[in-house]
Symmetry: C2
Subunit: 249 residues, 2 copies
């Protein structure tokens, strides 16, 4: 029922079969083929890829499955700062530091490719195109966070959810339109943590959107019924933007 995710070709090091490396596969494809050091890691739901304060050594490209990245506030509460789906790059927030500032856990069975940052840095030094690609990835992360920042700063619950759903949809296959199915691998509480809402509010708001016929919700599956209405709620132009991948990660 739920949509399969985009799968761009590209072979990364030791992975036998073709795998998706998202931005990386676009930006570094040719050069990545030549990197022999890429390791693969398999995670079950709940497994941590790294923890806050652990040594930072690698970025991770999500091959399949999905992850959440969390941070702790100084007084001990946990908040999700991003969801990472197939093709996304995890770990950019700790570049330049010895230790991770966040933790990453799998939301479901997940496979990632490990990209040692020292290696990327070294290659960036000799290949301008790779250095530029690394800059692009870092600044891309900045912009995704800025989108979330705008969302948290000025939108109401309904609008946040609408934007969240459209973002999830557009990170799947093709543009979000009527009938598009969205798979949400995270709990209501996790959605709330990311959107700055309580789980009850998430549940209530999803129910409301369902009741109004804008979406159809069945557990963690959502189907868009009135794309136009949903975009309107999200404060977006009715016409899909030129470059989708706007929010989250």
């Amino acid at each position: 029922m739920m949509a399969p995710r985009r799968c761009e070709p590209g072979v990364c090091g030791k992975c036998a079969q073709p795998c998706t490396l998202g931005t990386l596969s676009r930006d570094l494809e040719l050069d990545l083929r030549q990197l022999p050091e890429l390791r693969e890691r398999r995670l079950a739901r709940g497994d941590y890829l790294f923890h806050t304060s652990g040594n930072f050594e690698s970025l991770y490209a999500v091959r399949s499955g999905s992850m959440k990245v969390t941070m702790l506030t100084e007084d001990g509460r946990e908040q999700i700062t991003g969801f990472f789906l197939q093709g996304d790059l995890v770990g950019l927030d700790s570049v330049g530091l010895r230790q991770h500032v966040s933790s990453a856990a799998a939301l479901e069975d997940t496979v990632v490719c490990e990209l040692p940052f020292a290696l990327l840095e070294r290659h960036g030094q000799s290949v301008p195109r790779i250095q530029a690609a690394l800059f692009r990835m870092l600044s891309g992360q900045i912009r995704r966070e800025l989108s979330t920042l705008l969302l948290l700063g000025s939108l109401r619950a309904e609008e946040r959810l609408a934007q969240f759903l459209i973002d999830l949809a557009e990170r799947g296959v093709g543009p979000a339109e009527c009938g598009t199915a969205i798979w949400m691998p995270m709990t209501r509480e996790e959605i709330g943590s990311y959107l700055g809402l309580k789980l009850e509010t998430v549940s209530r708001t999803l129910s409301k959107l369902h009741r109004e016929g804008i979406i159809e919700v069945v557990k963690r599956g959502v189907r868009i019924r009135q794309e136009r209405q949903l975009r309107l709620l999200a404060g977006m132009n009715p016409v899909p933007a030129a470059r989708p991948r706007a929010l989250a990660h």
Copy 2:
């Protein structure tokens, strides 16, 4: 009355007198001395350094004064995504793109040093230390935004203001303590835009903190009276963190 700002030595290109370049002066000091291309720009309050959709070409280091960076939501509202004080680097959010995704305006009379990004990129290519410094700056921006994200996602008005004030204080001279004076070059509305609050709420909350004797507010000047209480409100440990510069920008 208000505290002077930290002033690290370092000479940047054409600027005759020593100037503060913040992170840059720490990371690139030696190499920057050799760059002849650095231009200086002077802005009056309200002047824009760049606009959304304008060509992205340079980063800007704030020598004196302060700036605000704003973004537009798709439905046209404006939100401030960061304040930049002396020594901060403006423009990182558009690295890797042709056009700026944000606008930057001076909050008061301000002087900035222009750092053409192509130049930095070129130098990063030949000098590993500079490439690493650029990575650090980009990832530093990511982490500052993540702090703001946590703030917007889980704190109440009072807590947001407390954290905002401590951040402003610590970006001044030395640690925030009782008696520390803070200068806020922005309006209540601008503070609210950044913190996800309405200007009335900002005003009311500042008044409340004043009434409780935690701070003293006189127009745009604030003096910390009960540091411990303020940190408590901000959800911070009473003891100042090892590395201050946590939030905002």
